[in-house]
């Protein structure tokens, strides 16, 4: 995964939010997501390890839409894959996607952290 694509998607989405609701809102949204997503990922891993498909599916579902809202499209796509697998009873094969989502989220967190500290600079930059 090239960091450049990730940044492009996140900055693109951030610019939409700033245009619509302003910078203050963007910061609030990033904070909510950075508070939310780690919990989701931890719950996902625990559900995976305990074989709890229902919780796994639900957590993946939530992570899918909240990540999409922040432009974290890779995390969102992985979450969608996990949700579908959970629904279809194939959760056991999701070890790799779970790990990839965690790794991908680490990059997202770094990008969002930078964006949060200087939203104006990011929003103004050409992608």
């Amino acid at each position: 995964m090239e960091t450049r694509t990730l940044e492009k998607e996140i900055v693109g989405k951030a610019r939409e939010w700033i245009e619509e609701y302003g910078e203050e809102f963007l910061v609030e949204l990033i904070d909510a997501y950075l508070d939310d997503a780690p919990t989701r990922l931890a719950e996902l891993r625990r559900a995976f390890e305990n074989g709890n498909a229902e919780t796994f599916t639900r957590e993946a579902h939530t992570l899918k839409s909240s990540s999409a809202n922040l432009g974290a499209m890779k995390v969102s796509a992985l979450a969608k894959e996990m949700e579908m697998a959970g629904r279809a009873g194939n959760m056991a094969q999701m070890a790799e996607p779970v790990a990839r989502a965690e790794a991908e989220f680490a990059l997202v967190r770094a990008a969002l952290g930078a964006l949060r500290s200087a939203p104006q600079e990011f929003a103004g930059r050409e992608p």
């Binding site: 949204l29 909510a32 939310d36 639900r58 839409s65 909240s66």
Partner: protein
């Protein structure tokens, strides 16, 4: 309008709250289904709710089901939040009572359109409730005087008798009519006669207590149900009403008119079952005597006296 948003994803509630606030709505936020259900039961709860389908614990569909099971609460318009690839499950949501759904990530124009549709339904609902309340008033009140109508005041009396029997309290009744009302109509015309009826209704209503009921029983005849009063206390209230009616002439367009009422009073005995008709007949008998004894006065007739008179003479009113 007030809108409840329930989603276990903080990102989603932050986003929805900002969007709805920007559209001018007051947003209530719940982080799970249980909180949503609790908030919806509050007295001034929002009548439009946006519920996430999938929440841990109580799901949006379950909240929906519970809201629809209520029969004594106003209608809540429910939008279910769902993912685009979950559309197959929507049948379950609609069958649980959801009005519509919004897919995540939501589109602002679609959300606005859904909210407008919801507002339309809620407006229709409140118009319907207002019309129902208006009908209820029309069905139970006398149009001219605004007092209870005959059937409604009899219903109040029946209720009061049932309650007082349980609680071992007496109930008083006053039957009263306007003296020489035909003369008022003949002398001043029916329009002024109507005004006299209205003014009499006003003076009676102002004199009774809030928990008493006064109804238009016939043309110029009124029935007053006096809660928790024996025959003496009821007599006292009738005297106060008599004074309120006769003390000052009724001022109205075209000159003041002096009016008096006659009153017949009776009451039930605490804890004894009594037939509503017997009570009214006793008051009617007393009213007849008030007329015979010169009008503008109160007479009373106890239930047992009436029973004796009925047995002796075979009739109540000659």
């Amino acid at each position: 309008m007030k809108i409840l948003v329930a989603d276990d994803s903080k990102t989603m509630t932050v986003l929805l709250r900002a969007t709805l606030a920007k559209l001018g709505h007051e947003v209530w936020v719940a982080a799970d289904g249980e909180t949503a259900w609790r908030l919806l039961q509050e007295p001034d709860a929002p009548k439009l709710a946006i519920l996430d389908w999938m929440m841990p614990g109580m799901s949006g569909v379950e909240v929906c089901r519970r809201v629809r099971q209520r029969t004594d609460a106003p209608y809540v318009y429910i939008l279910l939040l769902t993912a685009l690839d979950q559309l197959d499950d929507l049948v379950e949501g609609i069958e649980a009572g959801a009005d519509a759904y919004i897919t995540k990530p939501f589109n602002l124009k679609e959300l606005q359109a859904r909210l407008r549709a919801g507002q339309r339904i809620l407006d229709l609902q409140s118009e319907l409730l207002a019309a129902q309340a208006q009908l209820e008033i029309l069905a139970t009140h006398d149009f001219l005087t605004g007092l209870w109508n005959r059937s409604a005041v009899l219903e109040r009396l029946a209720q009061e008798l049932a309650r007082s029997q349980r609680e071992r309290n007496p109930v008083g009744v006053i039957l009263t009519d306007i003296d020489h009302f035909k003369r008022v109509n003949d002398t001043y015309g029916h329009a002024r006669g109507d005004q006299v009826l209205q003014e009499a209704a006003k003076r009676m209503t102002e004199t009774i207590r809030p928990y008493d009921s006064v109804g238009r029983y016939g043309g110029e005849e009124f029935l007053i149900v006096v809660a928790n009063c024996d025959i003496q206390k009821t007599f006292g209230l009738a005297e106060r009403i008599r004074h309120a009616i006769s003390a000052a002439p009724m001022a109205m367009t075209g000159g003041a008119i002096q009016v008096t009422h006659s009153f017949g009073v009776s009451a039930s005995h605490p804890g004894e079952s009594v037939d509503l008709k017997d009570l009214i007949e006793a008051a009617d008998r007393a009213l007849y005597r008030a007329k015979q004894n010169g009008r503008n006065r109160v007479e009373w007739c106890a239930l047992d006296a009436m029973a004796r008179a009925g047995a002796e003479h075979g009739e109540i009113r000659p």
